[in-house]
């Protein structure tokens, strides 16, 4: 639902870093989105496209990696990833897959990270 504000924050971060690194072109952007965030990768991609119009980011390849959910069980010490069921994608945070108990902490799956960008720049600038 708040993909627009998140996409806006991402575009600003990307353009800021690109400018600081004197990029002449942004070839590729890698973003990580946790599967438990309230963000829909397809909507996010659409909005990133819209917001990058007339910027250095226009036309860049955008890679969105979804980060799986990992939990830590406080009852049996299970730590690790847990499969998400498409029909009930929150079940993973509700019940420990090992012992069936419900006292869980989510340790991964809530990221919204601009991981890296691949840019093209001139060598002359690099030597400065």
């Amino acid at each position: 639902m708040h993909e627009l504000s998140m996409a806006d924050a991402m575009v600003k971060t990307i353009l800021d870093v690109a400018e600081k690194n004197k990029a002449e072109e942004i070839i590729e952007v890698t973003i990580e989105i946790g599967k438990l965030t309230m963000l829909n990768p397809e909507q996010l991609r659409f909005l990133l496209d819209v917001l990058s119009e007339d910027t250095l980011l226009q036309g860049s390849k955008i890679i969105i990696n979804e980060i799986p959910v990992e939990i830590k069980c406080n009852s049996c010490d299970f730590k690790g990833s847990t499969d998400l069921d498409d029909s009930d994608h929150y079940l993973a945070i509700v019940v420990c897959p090992q012992c069936g108990e419900r006292d869980l902490e989510v340790t991964a799956g809530r990221e919204c990270n601009v991981q890296k960008i691949k840019i093209e720049k001139s060598d002359e600038e690099e030597e400065k």
């Binding site: 990580e32 309230m38 991981q115 001139s122 060598d123 690099e126």
Partner: protein, 220 residues
């Protein structure tokens, strides 16, 4: 000759982490002025504003309110009647408050004149979940009229809650909602959370909510 090269630049800028850092800063600001802050979340019409009004009238604290809404003047106006400091936060198109918006609002509040702050979030069970504000306690208010499957359908907000209020229980029968199921659904997701059934119309549960808040405030 001018050469071009390809470079990979690590950014690792997580917007959630950035928000959490701002939230931590907010909490430090609050702690410095000895203000205990409660983030009040819940759907539109669940009774968030009414509950805060009841708490202002019945808690012996110097209370301040941040009223967050798409258009905040309506709720802010309701709180102003009680002569408490109120800051309205217009979120406009945004569906949730974030730590940055709250930081601005904190700057507009007389923090040294209050000891308890209610931050009313935008009516929404989805978007606010990921955004810590720097509050000391997260209270989620839902009502039976939203349907008794509300908790199952929005598990994350309940998983992160410190206190859950199930409101309007006086009309549960009329709307065909099983209030005990709602309580159990919350407990299944978050075994340690306090769940209180209330009706702000009849006053049911209000004392229990106040007692629970007082206990947490004293511990803090």
């Amino acid at each position: 000759m001018k050469m071009h090269k390809i470079a990979e630049v690590e950014i690792q800028h997580d917007i959630m982490v950035a928000n959490r850092k701002l939230a931590q800063r907010n909490q430090k600001i609050l702690d410095k002025s000895n203000v205990f802050a409660v983030d009040v979340l819940g759907a539109i019409g669940s009774g968030k504003t009414s509950l805060i009004e009841a708490l202002i009238q019945n808690m012996g604290h110097k209370i301040g309110v941040i009223a967050g809404d798409v258009i905040s003047k309506f709720d802010a106006g309701r709180f102003q009647k009680y002569q408490v400091p109120v800051v309205g936060l217009n979120t406009g198109k945004e569906c949730h408050l974030d730590a940055h918006l709250v930081e601005h609002a904190l700057g507009d509040l007389p923090l040294d004149e209050i000891d308890l702050l209610f931050i009313e979030n935008v009516g929404n069970l989805i978007c606010p979940v990921d955004f810590d504000l720097g509050s000391h306690l997260r209270m989620v208010v839902i009502s039976v009229s939203e349907g008794d499957d509300t908790v199952e359908k929005h598990p994350l907000i309940f998983k992160d809650a410190d206190l859950v209020v199930i409101n309007k229980v006086d009309i549960a029968e009329a709307v065909g909602a099983d209030q005990e199921k709602m309580v159990q659904d919350v407990k299944d997701l978050n075994p340690d959370v306090t769940v209180i059934k209330s009706s702000l119309k009849t006053g049911e549960g209000l004392e229990e909510i106040i007692d629970t808040l007082e206990k947490v405030i004293q511990k803090n």
